[in-house]
């Protein structure tokens, strides 16, 4: 891809970007959110058309008008969100669109799938049904789909965002196998350790422009991070010693049902004090969602009590909990956090629109709302095409998250529950969000941080609570523990049991 340029209203997404990938190479594309990585790949895959520049495959100039053209050229893409039919088998999903004629031979296809699976070590059985297999395996089905269609160039768009640490290792091995067989792999990511682990070269993009191509083996993680963000990045958050004050949130013997009507949280007790960050560590799906929803009022508590600022809030409506000073950065920013079809102005006052100064006697004060939204946008560096008038859905994921965090912090809550606050964000944004959370702590706020990433938990927390199977395993001081010990607890093993 040579000299690619693509403009969107208000933004130049790609400006003269050149990307050269060799055969049998794992080539990483590194960039912050909104740097233009996805746009570049969408152009290669025929989803967008470049305003300028040319694409050459195997030395020949090509015009890719749609994804089918890309397929024909042997380009395949593993999307961040899988495109699979859940109640179909693996084989049915793979041959979909490639049945070849009116009657299709599923047995023949299955044989071929099995063959490919064994060759690259994917360990996928063709007759498994998608909804019965893990996310990691679903991703491998996506990879199989590309290989089944004889793709030589495989694009992986943020492939590890949905995987557990172990699955990530497996994926890395699969990528190495693929490259060894002569496939070219383009890995889009902002996770530096992954690049370090598998890629040979790395193209770095910043704000739509090419920064450079680096040889991964000979450059350090810090150098790559600095090139991506445009300034040196610190991975460790500076913070003063913890100085906990009065208890803000007290959870006592709380039990909560999950959506399958069984107890998702069992007899859980935890106290969060003013001026401390308590990290809740655990593997996804171990009761974190239910716990947070019970605290914020989105889910009913079965038994036990939740006390906030000395008041029992176990059965208060959400609205009252919010106005008592409970802030919540939700896990799913697009479902819960924002109204994507509404402008940022409305989104920034979604909790407080009915209160002074945003409304007087039930009538909205638009100038007030606008200036409030603009102050959040500028303080939290939310980048958008049309400022406060931009629709929330038009922002990149990182900027959506910054907007939510800006809204929650600006509301000045006593307790901030941050669930996966940096999921899918790049190092620059993570650094910023972490420093904001620490700053809130220094200001004497209580913070409950829920994260599936141990790095983040260790980086920020003063104390770590470990949840497994809905039960509290232990609460430990961050200073007196290590990742190994917490890892064991996350697996449900209590101290002294091993």
């Amino acid at each position: 891809m040579l000299g690619i340029r693509k403009e969107f209203p208000g933004i130049v997404a790609n400006d003269d970007i050149t990307l050269q990938v060799e055969e049998g190479e794992i080539h990483a594309i590194l960039g912050e959110n909104g740097a233009g990585k996805s746009t570049l790949m969408s152009i290669l895959f025929g989803l967008y058309h470049a305003d300028k520049g040319i694409i050459k495959v195997r030395g020949k100039e090509v015009h890719i008008k749609n994804p089918n053209d890309a397929f024909d050229l042997g380009i395949g893409m593993v999307h961040q969100h899988f495109q699979l039919v859940h109640n179909f088998t693996v084989a049915e999903n793979i041959i979909m669109g490639k049945e070849g004629g009116f009657v299709y031979d599923i047995r023949k296809a299955s044989r071929k799938i099995k063959e490919i699976s064994e060759r690259y070590g994917l360990s996928i059985e063709p007759d498994m049904v998608i909804e019965d297999i893990t996310v990691g395996m679903q991703q491998r089905v996506e990879i199989l789909k590309m290989l089944y269609r004889d793709a030589d160039i495989l694009i992986f768009d943020e492939p590890t965002a949905v995987l557990t640490p172990q699955e990530i290792d497996e994926l890395m091995q699969i990528m190495r196998n693929l490259a060894a067989e002569g496939k070219s792999i383009i890995l889009i990511t902002h996770k530096l350790d992954e690049i370090k682990a598998v890629a040979s070269r790395c193209t770095i993009i910043r704000r739509g422009r090419l920064v450079g191509v680096v040889d991964v083996a000979s450059s350090s993680v810090e150098e790559m991070a600095a090139a991506m963000v445009g300034r040196p990045v610190s991975f460790k958050v500076e913070k003063s010693p913890c100085n906990p004050g009065r208890p803000i949130l007290e959870i006592r013997n709380l039990s909560v049902m999950n959506s399958k009507k069984v107890l998702g949280v069992k007899d859980f007790s935890l106290t969060v004090h003013a001026g401390e960050i308590v990290g809740l560590a655990g593997v996804d799906g171990n009761g974190q969602t239910e716990l947070v929803e019970a605290i914020t009022g989105l889910r009913k508590a079965e038994s036990g009590s939740i006390t906030f600022n000395g008041k029992d809030i176990t059965s208060l409506p959400i609205e009252e909990r919010n106005s008592m000073g409970l802030g919540h950065i939700p896990e799913d920013r697009q479902k819960r956090g924002l109204i994507l079809s509404a402008p940022l102005t409305s989104n920034m006052v979604i909790k407080e629109f009915a209160k002074e100064p945003f409304a007087h006697h039930g009538l909205l004060d638009y100038p007030q709302i606008r200036s409030y939204a603009e102050s959040i946008i500028s303080r939290f560096d939310v980048r958008s095409g049309e400022g406060a008038d931009s629709l929330a859905g038009k922002l990149s994921g990182g900027n959506q998250q910054k907007a939510i965090i800006g809204r929650e912090i600006t509301a000045d809550p006593d307790l901030l529950i941050a669930v996966q606050p940096t999921r899918g964000l790049d190092v620059g944004a993570i650094e910023f969000i972490h420093s904001q959370l620490v700053e809130e702590r220094e200001r004497g706020k209580a913070i409950l941080l829920v994260s599936f990433e141990l790095d983040e938990i260790f980086n920020l927390s003063d104390r770590i609570a470990v949840i497994s199977g809905g039960e509290l395993i232990d609460i430990v001081d961050t200073a007196s523990t290590d990742e190994h010990a917490v890892g064991l607890m996350m697996a449900g093993i209590r101290k002294g049991e091993s």
Binding site: I318, E319, R321, I350
Partner: protein, 406 residues
């Protein structure tokens, strides 16, 4: 940090506005109507001339058209209001009947000597309360028992239908024709002498002004009030609204109640203004026409006003078609075609966007040529709109010259 937010709207191709889309739908609908008329070997222009003649040729006909539009405006508002909260009110017919029967019973039993200044507000409030109750029931079923509003409103339509079937003979029957209610005395309808005189005995009544007032009220609620904000939030993303502490179930009930009140007001203007009787066993079609009005009007009060007038013209004018030998069903066909094209508004919008985009690209090309000649190297994206337009104008002349020179 502290980066200034972008204030100037970026230079870009125009986007198709809802107005352009709605007008294209109307145009396509009329074009289809012409085609049908041609197919049966008649002159389409004569046909449309007849429709306009029937609807607008004298004050009386104009009055009747506006009288017909009154119901359509109110039903359109009702459907649109529910839409904004993410609800589909298909029960406007039943709500109309509830408003109509309430108004008719009051008209029958209240003394004729009652001053109109008290009587009229009283029936309006009573009718709206009945419709609000009817809408609220669907909202309640949805909020508490998760019964889909399409199912519950359709069922409530039939409950209202049978209530009227029972109440008309029981309370307000016309003894001479036993399938209709006794005609309401004019002083107990929404008609006004001055309007009747002005429009030479048309059906135009105070309801028309009520409908206009309701356009303002709906606009005001949705745009200016915290109530409207919360209703729209629930409509656009229920989960986010819930997270933000907006009471979702309450919003659904309020929204359906308001939609029901608007539709029952339409019923009042229809049965106690436009007409003065209620027939047994008749479900008003207007409840469903209102969906089309709301769609064509893009659910905005102004849009609904004009689309209701447009549909009013078609509905009133079609009677005159018979004289030309063109079947009156042509008017219904046109309405149906327009609904079809409004429903496919995405296709229409992308059609216009493509045209706007290619025009913009040509303009950009011209501007670039002019800038090159002048040696201006500022990127196009940082030009102001006025500068851009000027360059484009110069550039176009330049390109034309070079073409002629060749």
């Amino acid at each position: 940090m502290g980066r200034k937010t972008v204030q100037q709207k970026p230079l870009e191709a125009r986007k198709a506005s809802p107005l352009v889309v709605s007008l294209s739908a109307v145009f396509l609908g009329i074009a289809a109507g012409c085609l049908f008329i041609l197919c049966i070997g008649k002159n389409p222009f004569a046909g449309f001339e007849r429709i306009l003649f029937g609807a607008l040729s004298n004050v009386r006909r104009i009055g009747n058209t506006l009288g017909m539009s009154t119901q359509l405006i109110l039903i359109g508002l009702s459907v649109a209001f529910a839409f904004k909260t993410g609800l589909f009110n298909i029960g406007a017919s039943g709500q109309m009947l509830m408003g109509g029967i309430t108004g008719s019973i009051l008209a029958y039993y209240l003394p004729l000597s009652m001053p109109r200044i008290i009587y009229i507000p009283m029936v309006i409030i009573a009718a709206m309360a009945a419709g609000a109750l009817w809408g609220f029931l669907s909202g309640l079923l949805k909020a508490k028992f998760n019964v889909h509003e399409v199912v519950s409103t359709i069922m409530l339509n039939w409950i209202a239908y049978w209530i009227c079937y029972d109440f008309i003979p029981r309370f307000i029957i016309d003894p001479t024709i036993s399938v209709k209610s006794k005609p309401i005395e004019t002083v107990h309808t929404l008609r006004a002498d001055w309007l009747t005189d002005l429009t030479q005995f048309s059906t135009l009544n105070y309801g028309f002004f009520l409908a206009i007032a309701m356009c303002f009220v709906v606009w005001f609620i949705l745009q200016k009030t915290t109530l409207g904000f919360s209703l729209k939030a629930v409509g656009s993303n229920r989960f986010c609204a819930e997270y933000a502490g907006i009471r979702v179930t309450r919003s659904i009930m309020i929204s359906m109640a308001i939609a029901g009140a608007l539709a029952s007001l339409a019923g009042l203007t229809y049965y106690c203004g436009y007409s003065n009787i209620m027939e047994m066993g008749k479900m008003p079609n207007e409840g469903f026409d209102g969906i089309a009005v709301a769609l064509l009007g893009n659910c905005s009060p102004v849009g609904i006003f004009f689309s209701a007038i447009f549909f009013g013209i078609l509905k009133m004018g079609r009677g005159s078609l018979a004289a030309t030998g063109i079947p009156t069903e042509i008017a219904d066909t046109i309405i149906a075609t327009i609904i079809y094209f409004t429903a496919t508004n995405v296709i229409l919008a992308s059609f216009w966007n493509r045209i706007f985009h290619s025009r913009f690209e040509k303009k950009e090309e011209a501007a670039a040529a002019a800038m090159k000649k002048k040696g201006d190297h500022t990127p196009v994206s940082s030009l102001t709109k006025a500068q851009f337009n000027e360059y484009a104008k110069e550039g176009r002349a330049l390109l034309k010259e070079s073409k002629e020179g060749r």
